[in-house]
Symmetry: C2
Subunit: 345 residues, 2 copies
């Protein structure tokens, strides 16, 4: 492994030079002020918690570390502006692996147009990356969690449950198979390894939505966060959830197998595919609360932009999340991810 | 240990609420734009690299994590504006320890007037904190490393070598003793555990200095960084270095002992106290390059403000750092800290 300053130079070589007044190499990056307000987020990905080196290539790790941060910018309706990257590298992390990490990160950075302006590199026993990303929004235009009101219609972008399914397939050693299963498995695993931050939708939604967040801990838990922040309740029709295609195709079988030998009394009222969509987490889709009067225009704009969103319920007066089945009967609400409640991988 | 969201709430309770439009709790913090430019830095402190829990109380760790970041702001001449904090916590890190960490960090945050606007908490095997801090400078006023010119006079603030001595005393189990040694030991250890970022000096120096950086990897190595960035060389008179009082008092003895039994040929030309001052690192003092015409006013301003600085040499045309003894003869240049060259603690 090469020395600290050589490693930093090699890592930086993969990135476009920022147009900031002063980029990496000084005590601080110097950045021109935004016109509006600055949205800032920081998020870590840690070996053994958010990824394992057995299941993620260095490119995936670099991509994911940036994606989870940019997803937070998207959830505010912010346009990506810059990021800094702190790397903690164990002794067995090779120069080649570091290049892979940089490639994955820089490819996404280029795609969403966010320059790396600075960082830090330190030795550590476990591999982790902590990025801080900033975006710009016009003054007062940021999509907060706390601005939802009763009556707002809830939309979720893309599909749910696939990233969690991908993780399950990886950790249970079921991430292979013959066609046609193979391409479904690959798609689910790709959702886990390479989440896609919904930047374009965030920018579009800023014109219509009142509140938003990104789904990282699981739809149900993140929606509860929005409800708490907005001091409202929510009602969601489970059959309207956009459960991912790979989940629909791959999970029912696993579900049926798991239930063999169980009695009727132990059957869970939520099927496994729905549970993954509600509580799986790491979807990095956006959850949006749109006032009813703006829904038609919002849906039309999403359609024109080719950004799929699904109406899943609405905010209501009161507190808490109510899940309803096709007949309007309440269903139990599964818990999402808690970093200190149970191990992730 | 309590759950993730309880822990976050407990941690945040130690900090003053920021005056930002939206602080912790949303996907991003929303921050009003600065008038001038934004200086941004990110720095990690990692267990086993920057601290051990055997030698640092949680309060010290929280303080140090923020101090090293604020020191980077000071080195740019920036006024501290906001920071975000990403915590990676192992399973055995108690709620009580987390409160201690928050107390140490929030005390320094209050002292330098920098609000916590957001963060992240994740589980991990080893304890680490990655902070990103931002400060404001008027447009074009940031003190860069790259603006030094031949002829500029080099100043260093405070004293050197004490933090490295403190670390040595801690790791060698020599961090106790009877008076009068005890208070010297405590002072050195305090420099290691609780570095003081030189914010006031940075703000003052912005009016006089051309280039600056903070001393984290060791005076000699950090000065070399300034020289490389400015494409100049430097000449430093070793006898003018402000070696810390505790180093002068405690190290000569250790130095004499270590030399017993060695032959004249193996004697190092730099004595141990000087070596600590030149290469020890973690001083978090500022190194400043001031044009000769402004030196008298700069020194007078520092004197009035009660901020000690010492003239140690000058930038010269060419490359590289030359160390001179009292007779003007060159001395060897020791190496500073490299994260991937050798273990720290």
């Amino acid at each position: 492994m090469s020395g600290e300053f050589t490693r930093i130079a090699r890592f930086l070589a993969h990135f476009d030079a920022p147009r900031a007044p002063a980029g990496p190499g000084d005590d601080c990056a110097v950045i021109a002020p935004p016109r509006g307000e600055l949205c800032v987020t920081t998020d870590s990905v840690v070996e053994g918690v958010h990824f394992t080196r057995a299941h993620f290539r260095p490119e995936d790790i670099g991509h994911k570390a940036l994606a989870v941060n940019v997803s937070d910018l998207a959830a505010m309706g912010a346009s990506p502006a810059w990021f800094v990257c702190a790397l903690s590298l164990p002794g067995d992390f090779t120069d080649r692996a570091l290049s892979g990490l940089a490639r994955g990160m820089s490819a996404l950075a280029r795609e969403v147009g966010i320059p790396l302006v600075g960082g830090n590199m330190t030795s550590a026993r476990e591999l982790s990356l902590t990025l801080t990303a900033a975006g710009h929004v016009p003054r007062g235009a940021a999509l907060l969690r706390s601005d939802g009101r009763p009556g707002d219609v809830l939309y979720v972008s893309g599909t749910l449950g696939e990233a969690a399914l991908g993780l399950r397939l990886l950790t249970r050693g079921r991430a292979s198979g013959e066609p046609p299963r193979r391409h479904l498995v690959r798609a689910a695993v790709e959702r886990q390894r390479r989440p896609r931050p919904q930047v374009a939708l965030g920018l579009l939604a800023r014109r219509f939505a009142r509140a938003a967040l990104d789904i990282s801990d699981g739809f149900a838990q993140d929606l509860s966060h929005l409800c708490q922040a907005s001091r409202v309740g929510a009602r969601v029709r489970v059959e309207s959830l956009p459960i991912g295609h790979t989940v629909r195709m791959l999970v029912p079988t696993a579900g049926r197998r798991a239930r063999r030998g169980t009695t009727a009394a132990t059957l869970r009222p939520l099927d496994e595919a729905t549970r993954l969509a509600l509580a799986g987490g790491e979807d990095y889709e956006l959850l949006l609360a749109v006032p009813p009067a703006r829904c038609r225009r919002f849906e039309a704009a999403c359609l024109r932009a080719g950004l799929p969103v699904t109406r899943v319920g609405e905010l209501v007066a009161g507190t808490g999340l109510t899940l309803l089945d096709a007949s309007g009967r309440p269903l139990p609400v599964p818990r999402g991810f808690d970093h200190f409640a149970r191990p992730r991988i």
